[in-house]
Symmetry: D2
Subunit: 287 residues, 4 copies
């Protein structure tokens, strides 16, 4: 969403048990520190009684760091879990790829055009096919082959690299390997995957073949956080496009590429703007 101001802002995502007065207390706290709220969006899950909020404010001059620290204490005092991010923070991002290049091009071009506030610090692949593309964009390329036999070793190498680069976000841009539960636990930061179907339909391998086989009239793509259960993590974004009997599997693949790009790009954008709050196996997206 548009913002004419360029002053650094703070964004807080918080959630916890609902009770009267939460909106007033959070807004009041910010006002007391001299901050000015730019956007605030809250949601109350009527079934579970959980309160969710995303709030974005301009802190008083020079107070961003102190406000950040103080907000965590304040949130705890009202029983909320919180995360506070500065709008000028540039998370370090690694993109995992295999041989498909469409999502890679799309993400990097958006990043270079200024759509994303982040630093793409590495492209990591189990193949060498996309190395020259990485070089063309001036992004370090790391070839870490993966085989059934060497998977544990390869993941250790990936983790070591991610740690040494202080990567905060991994994007699986049609990376054709499943990350192990251990990898995800060890990394412990966000991993966004794009699956080329409308989940939960057609989880697992070859979803376009499955779709053609079933004769569906729409194909989809789903961006989600990766979890230990394959294709089952919290969904961030989904979209579909119409197909007919005239479209063979190769047409689904071609049409799907556009879907995958758009859906992954949107999910990454929301994540980088701190608009996504995960709870349970679902997301609240403050759009």
């Amino acid at each position: 969403m548009s913002s004419a101001t360029t002053a650094p802002m703070l964004v807080a995502l918080l959630h916890g048990p609902d009770r009267p007065g939460l909106v007033a207390r959070v807004a009041g706290w910010i006002f007391e520190q001299g901050g000015n709220i730019i956007h605030a969006d809250q949601h109350r899950d009527m079934v579970s009684g959980v309160f969710f909020q995303r709030i974005e404010w301009v802190p008083s001059e020079g107070a961003a760091s102190a406000d950040t620290v103080a907000f965590y204490a304040f949130a705890a005092s009202i029983g909320m879990q919180a995360r506070v991010i500065s709008s000028i923070h540039r998370p370090r991002v690694a993109i995992f790829v295999s041989k498909f290049d469409h999502c890679l091009h799309d993400l990097v071009l958006r990043w270079k055009s200024g759509e994303y506030t982040c630093d793409v610090v590495a492209i990591i692949s189990n193949h060498r096919e996309l190395e020259s593309i990485a070089q063309g964009y001036g992004i370090p390329f790391h070839h870490i082959p993966v085989t059934a036999a060497t998977k544990a070793e390869s993941e250790a190498a990936q983790l070591a690299l991610l740690r040494s680069l202080d990567v905060e976000l991994v994007i699986l841009a049609r990376y054709m390997q499943v990350l192990s539960d251990d990898f995800l636990k060890e990394f412990s930061r966000s991993v966004i995957n794009i699956h080329h179907s409308f989940l939960p339909a057609f989880a697992g391998g070859k979803p376009y073949h499955q779709a053609a086989e079933r004769g569906v009239k729409l194909i989809g793509a789903t961006a989600h956080y990766a979890t230990a259960v394959l294709d089952d993590g919290p969904i961030i974004q989904q979209d579909v496009t119409r197909v007919t009997h005239r479209h063979g599997v190769e047409d689904l693949v071609r049409k799907g590429r556009d879907l995958e790009k758009i859906v992954l790009a949107q999910a990454v954008r929301w994540h980088l703007e701190s608009r996504v709050l995960v709870y349970g196996n679902k997301t609240v997206v403050f759009d």
Copy 2:
């Protein structure tokens, strides 16, 4: 949006010049009266510096009326224009029709199924074709013919009827007459119209013919508040559907009927839920 609670709520729509602390002050005021905020949504127009808010709360028991009165004073004290509506208020609605029945059926069936909190108290038409439908639904039907020569007289009759029925909302459900500027000023309450094109394209008469003539690949429908300038009022909702060279004008008319129903129904729903704030010639829809 879902609400498990059935306690009456108050909804306030407010707007005015932005300044620091508004969110905190409004939330604080409600908290002080013992109210519990259920939803709050605000927007700041960065270009004009205007602050917009929709806030929904459960007042403390028995305080709904007093809170409503007090809120107007409070809003004025912070420089805001406000409107406060109780969630149990049932506005009285009149539907204007001519000969097309699809939007009429759609609106009435939604109303009867409980989608709308309102009372449909009259169906008003310049023709008699839909009288039996009105009777079938048990809604009073009023035949007020309109000709070029008698237009002023007819509008006077319509206004007298609306006043006698205390109608708060008029829905033009494919009513094929233009309401005069005088009528709109006199009525001074909301009039929602459905135009069968994606405005501002194809304003005026025979939009499907215009669309077929121009060879567009999508046709649309637009629900808007009626103003003195034909098809130029604040837009509430729009949607489109794909057409091809295979679709003649009669196909556009048929496909358009579904669009018109969905778009008008959504606009009416938002209006009745106090989600639409008009400013200038635009709307803010708190969806």
Copy 3:
């Protein structure tokens, strides 16, 4: 699709093993009988080598019956399975319902407005809730209760009724009972069902609850021919609409109603216009 002509037309749907010259032979045959082709659409499944065609023509005056008979013989001579339907044939239709009325209203109103070439001859229900609606529309209502103990008996009664009314198409308009394999075999004509999810996701019961549980960002509806395997028949039409974390199950139900109506209405329309050709577990829709 639009047709300015009102002369009765013949529509043939044919499919069989592809070989050179099929388009020419079919078109040539029609031309030889003095027919004039209005539309023709063919498709070749590149994987299976099957040829599919829908062809619509105005037969020479008075030749419709003779052409129909002769076409079957001609199609067999070129190795094609065929079905020929006159555009003025009005199939007799029964609508099965339980307690939800939205799809029923929608179908009947479209039928009454002239969108469908058919005769709705019966509304059949396992409950009495919608009886007065049927009466309001002047359509015979048949109450055939179904319990686990009496299911076989109830289906026998339904079949007897359908036979006595010479019903050619059954529409399950949110009918909340599963038809047995035996019923479908016995009836042996088309049964169109609307399932309130984007199949194959969320087959079976309570799909909106399943969707809310999984946290999907789009909900869907699927119209398909009923087969012995629940929610697994050939898909005719699907569509989706966007939902967010703000939508509880009751909102999904409400939004889903509009989807269900549109998707079922479109599938019925295509079926009645002889645009749907089933092969294997898929459909070719000549739109």
Copy 4:
């Protein structure tokens, strides 16, 4: 659309006054030459009585050139205007740009990935900003400045270049200059433009500003053949995306970029696959 076969095919686009037997005669002619029809799609404009057809066939071995020549004569003999294209013909394409790079990247990456059968032989710009991108892709870049004073001269230089390169298709990929009527007449081949609005709404300059001003709820993009009247040529493809009051002009610009890319890419694809037939100021797209 999928094609498992890799034999060169011929595609004919034809149109002319409808009369009985046309489908049979065309199919019969192809069959007589030993060709095998792979796809055929025809349309009859009921209002104007014009017949349109796209037909795709595998000619008998070695007969492609002879068939092409003969088809023109045959089409003339049945009163049809025709165009015949070989599926292996690679038209030479020039892309015109100014300073925006998103459509350029998108088109070139699709071309490099094999989506388009053509040769991109030049990128022509009135500015130098995108020169390094052209070089990165290895495509010759031509800088031809345009000012009000030198427009005629600049267009002469552009035309000379296009002729020397034997360019068959010009794509205006957000080229911010209007081509003169003289240029279009002289060039006499196809020019595809992308306009960043849902035409005919918001023709002319700054359409996103116009859209924000009017408060529309959807923004669009339109790909069309360029003609002497600005933004008024035959429309090939259009699409829209939803916006809200939260989206300022810069958000519309960002969201619009994705629309522009998708809509232009689709129009170019259809054009290159000989799926677009222009008649009057409209197109028939055989999708």
